[in-house]
């Protein structure tokens, strides 16, 4: 569905160098801090900026060969961009009908009612959560093959966030060949929905892993200085000095569990892994 190979984009204070893939039937997450390059990746992928190098494939075609008909297969939601705030939802419906040959108006209207989104109110008067819901709803209402969602959960409360993630799960269940590329700086949002996760930092992919492995096999080893000296370090990804000794990240939980039973093993979360990958020392 999506294939980025050594995609490069250089700005004065920022450089992107990214390789990423989203296979059919998968939900792929892109996690990173604000300013890490997530939106730049999405913009390049959609042809909104010109890359300085590398290649982009979208829906199995090089980006240059993507035409308007192909774009009918895409559903896109931006965190900081959408229809003009001066329009109402009532205004948007005929626009979407004109733009998308497969716009599902009954579904759109049903979801509007379910989420209690007002149709006569100007979008600029919507709350942040309402805007976020509307953007995602617009993206999924025309039976797209690929969703590209930039921080769709930003500004949503816990309940609304769950509702939105449920909607995305339903969307995926309807067709096995659909895919989603979703970004967030709140990784816990993605833990429950993504099949695999890319971590981006300062324009570079620093980690790519299946979510199950990330949550199951990536652990933190908490060691005294003596333990640290003795352990086999070949599977330690990052280490950080702590007051008690060392905290190290590994993706080989079983190895250390079996060979170093005295070492304290702590389960990781994606947020903790990101922090360690960014701040920890590479051995």
């Amino acid at each position: 569905m999506v294939k980025l190979e050594q995609l490069q984009k250089h700005y004065n204070t920022f450089s992107l160098d990214c390789t990423l893939q989203v296979p059919p039937g998968r939900i792929t997450g892109l996690v990173g801090q604000n300013g890490a390059g997530k939106t730049t990746v999405f913009k390049a992928l959609l042809g909104l900026i010109r890359p300085d190098g590398g290649s982009i494939q979208l829906l199995g075609k090089p980006l240059e060969q993507i035409h308007q008909e192909d774009r009918q297969q895409l559903g896109v939601a931006w965190s900081d961009s959408g229809f003009s705030g001066y329009l109402t939802v009532e205004n948007i419906i005929p626009i979407l009908e004109q733009l998308y040959s497969r716009f599902d108006k009954p579904f759109f209207v049903e979801q509007l009612q379910k989420w209690e989104l007002p149709i006569h109110k100007r979008i600029k008067e919507f709350s942040t959560g309402m805007k976020a819901k509307l953007k995602t709803l617009i993206a999924i209402s025309h039976h797209a093959k690929l969703l590209i969602l930039d921080e769709p959960t930003a500004g949503l409360d816990v309940v609304a966030r769950d509702e939105l993630l449920d909607l995305l799960r339903d969307y995926m269940q309807q067709d096995d060949s659909r895919s989603i590329l979703i970004s967030s700086h709140i990784s816990s949002d993605l833990e429950s929905i993504c099949d695999d996760i890319y971590m981006i930092d300062q324009g570079r992919i620093v980690l790519h892993e299946d979510t199950d492995i990330l949550l199951g096999d990536y652990v933190f080893l908490k060691m005294s200085p003596e333990q640290y000296e003795q352990v086999d370090k070949q599977y330690l990804l990052r280490c950080q000095k702590e007051s008690y000794g060392y905290c190290c990240l590994t993706n080989q939980r079983q190895f250390y569990q079996e060979n170093y039973p005295a070492v304290v093993i702590e389960k990781s979360s994606i947020d903790k892994v990101i922090t360690m990958i960014i701040r920890g020392e590479r051995l």
């Binding site: 308007q68 961009s81 001066y86 005929p94 626009i95 979407l96 733009l99």
Partner: protein, 214 residues
């Protein structure tokens, strides 16, 4: 294209108060002005420049990033803006021309003068759109507005000067045996020049949009 036009008309619908106000001013000006032909220029240009406000709406809050993620090509977007400009400007031109001729007739003015102004105003509208659209697409709302003010000033003086020259020419033209035919030739030349400028302007705008990053 239909989707974009639909969006822009929806946006214009939201500005209906401004549109009605301009209509009212135009009607008032025609009814009470000693020169009803002035309203043709005023109304046509204001109508055409409403296209620029739709570009500003598109740009606001980084809206272009979303817009160009939809099934819309940059070329199509550019074409739509020109079509919208012609529709709005042309519509206002037609409406105001008919209205000015009628008002002129009722007020006892020389209708041929008003008619001549009306026909001359159309290529001027094309030139105005040709200048303003690429400027607005290139520089955006803020700087674009400054450019509009400058262009309006230049255009005002140009029209004034050309009008005077034509007026003088008409006096001379009344002398030869085929004055009407000469007038038509001049107008056709203006119209052709306007269309050429518009075509060139579209090419420039398409190139601007092609290079733009959002």
């Amino acid at each position: 294209m239909k989707g974009l036009l639909c969006k822009d008309f929806m946006l214009l619908k939201e500005q209906k108060f401004s549109l009605l106000l301009i209509f009212a001013i135009a009607l008032g000006m025609t009814a009470f002005s000693a020169s009803p032909s002035f309203v043709i220029g005023y109304f046509s240009f204001i109508g055409g420049s409403f296209t620029l406000s739709t570009i500003s709406y598109d740009e606001a809050d980084n809206g272009n990033a979303f817009l160009f993620s939809l099934p819309i090509s940059r070329k199509e977007y550019t074409r739509e803006k020109y079509l919208l400009g012609l529709t709005l400007g042309g519509g206002c031109w037609l409406f105001s021309s008919v209205f000015a001729v009628l008002a002129g007739f009722l007020q006892g003015h020389d209708i041929s003068d008003i008619f001549f102004t009306a026909v001359f105003m159309f290529p001027s509208l094309l030139v105005l759109l040709s200048i303003m659209l690429p400027l607005h697409l290139k520089f955006g709302g803020e700087k674009g507005r400054t450019a509009i003010i400058i262009v309006m000033g230049i255009l005002f003086f140009t029209i004034l000067s050309v009008g005077k020259v034509l007026q003088a020419a008409q006096i001379q033209l009344s002398f030869p045996s085929t004055p009407a035919a000469n007038g038509v030739v001049v107008l056709l030349a203006f119209l052709l020049a306007g269309l050429c400028v518009l075509l060139l302007s579209y090419q420039i705008s398409a190139a601007i949009m092609k290079r733009k990053e959002f």
